[in-house]
């Protein structure tokens, strides 16, 4: 087992406000790591710093041992790091299939060779598999805008896996998904983790979901890691309970 992602003493402040205050952790190959914490604890900022959307004030990020701190999001993605966003981010005017092809095409060849390439960038079969995997076949040629919220959420997650990423960072995959669909989403994520052998980091507020999905959980509060361990440990930890329910 080796570390896929290594975050060392990451700091980010906006003006005078410190959002992430020296966070360090590693993610092992094949692991599903959950990051939880109350509102404003710095989870999304941490993600954005890892993913090149924000420049960290200090600290380092390593992917498979090489430094990737502050690398642009598109380059990072082509190195095998994919993500989803807290708010749904799909391309509503494109069909479901086109959404998926788009999610994989920039990993094929060079920009110039893509100009000469086939419209589907040779990804039709892969898109078809992904559609089947997330049970969206029936909707393949619908505009993404015409899907229900839950289906759009599935598409959003499916896009993150089109290029077979080494590491996927999912920001609230369960947000807004209705309870009946949650179980199937969790099961799909676990299946993809097993099949693709990819590594996940998941930010999630739905505790039941995150505790069932993840092997290990990291708890953030006020920009610091206050606890980590397996779901059962974390749940018992008084510091965690205090972070959520508040101090008196």
């Amino acid at each position: 087992m080796s570390s896929v992602l290594e975050v060392r003493d990451l700091k980010k402040s906006f003006g005078g406000i410190v959002a992430v205050d020296g966070v360090s952790f590693g993610v092992e190959e094949g692991e599903i790591l959950g990051i939880i914490g109350p509102n404003g604890s710095g989870k999304s900022t941490l993600f954005n710093c890892i993913l090149g959307q924000l420049q960290p004030t200090a600290g380092e990020v390593h992917l498979d041992g090489r430094p990737v701190t502050g690398m642009r999001a598109c380059d990072l993605n082509r190195l095998g790091v994919s993500r989803t966003f807290q708010l749904l981010q799909i391309f509503p005017q494109l069909t479901v299939r086109k959404n998926l092809i788009l999610a994989g095409q920039e990993h094929q060849g060079t920009m110039l060779s893509r100009l000469a390439g086939r419209p589907d960038a040779g990804l039709s079969a892969a898109a078809e598999r992904m559609l089947g995997f997330f049970r969206l076949e029936r909707l393949a040629d619908e505009h993404a805008a015409d899907l229900s919220y839950g289906q759009q959420k599935l598409l959003d997650v499916a896009m993150a896996f089109m290029a077979g990423p080494r590491l996927a960072l999912l920001d609230e995959p369960a947000g807004g998904v209705n309870p009946t669909m949650l179980a199937s989403l969790r099961e799909r994520l676990q299946a993809i983790n097993a099949e693709q052998g990819s590594t996940f980091v998941v930010i999630e507020h739905n505790m039941e979901f995150v505790m069932a999905l993840c092997n290990r959980i990291l708890v953030l509060d006020e920009g610091r890691v206050i606890a980590q361990g397996d779901p059962a440990q974390v749940r018992r930890d008084p510091k965690v309970i205090e972070a959520y329910l508040g101090r008196s």
Binding site: C74, F91, L102, Q105, L115, P119
Partner: protein
Amino acid sequence: MRHSRSLAAGIMLALGAAFLVVAPLGLKPYGIFILSMWAVMTIAAIGLNLTLGYAGQISLAQAAFVGIGAYLTAYLTTKGWPFWSTYMLGGVSCFAIGWLLGYPALRVQHHYLAFVTLAFNTLVYLIFRNEEWLTGGIYGISNVPRPVVLGWSMNGPREFYYFCLAHLALVSVATWWLLRSPWGLAFVALRENPIRALSLGVDTRRYTLMAFALGAGLGGISGALYAPLVQFIDPTPFALGLSLNLLLMVVLGGSGYFFGPFLGAIVAVLLPEWLRFTEGFYLMGYALLVIVLMAFSPSGLLGLADRLTRPAPRGAP
């Protein structure tokens, strides 16, 4: 339903192409001139449609590129350069300048970008007007020769029309190829959601610059044809007005639709000539059409047609 829709579109396309080929046989030279002008303006509009319609970057500088292409061709061909060299030079230099103009788009968006490109257009216009030693100032450059292709002179109106039409066909095929390649999808991704596109590996910076450069390059090609078409050029046609007009063409036809520029140019270039008797009322009607369309169908005439004929989406549960 979907099938019959594409069949109808195919038939209309074939009819339109056939019309374009036989039309000059029944037209007077002026009519042929106008039809040639339509082809030339359509090329410029196709370029702008790439930048604005597909990649979503607003540009009010397309007239400047048409002007640069036209002046390069006029200046060099009257000095004896062969047309092909000036034509290539026009396209390539506009591509390069367009690439540079794309840099502001990396910093600012929307209305700010509109104002930067607008200012650029006006600056280029000032150079056309004031650098008399180069551009002839307000007197312009006259006697721009028409090319000779493989020993066959394009001097007659009909010949030159077919020459322009051939270029339009070439540009259309190239653009169509580009848009069906993964680039087309990347451009749309840039327009629809640049942040998500970036996270999917789309190098949005490079595609943005490319969208500007390609659009500008087509503007330059359009200008290279414009100069020998009118055979006399002065600064007036390349002022901001043409940029706005090209923008309206693209939006009116349907920005982001492949045939939008063709249709927009019909409304903006051909119809005014056929409706000449209405005098200024035509332009007023045109402006009114733009306003009404924006209220009811911001995706233009083709967007409207699309909406009216599209089958209802299969109900998502």
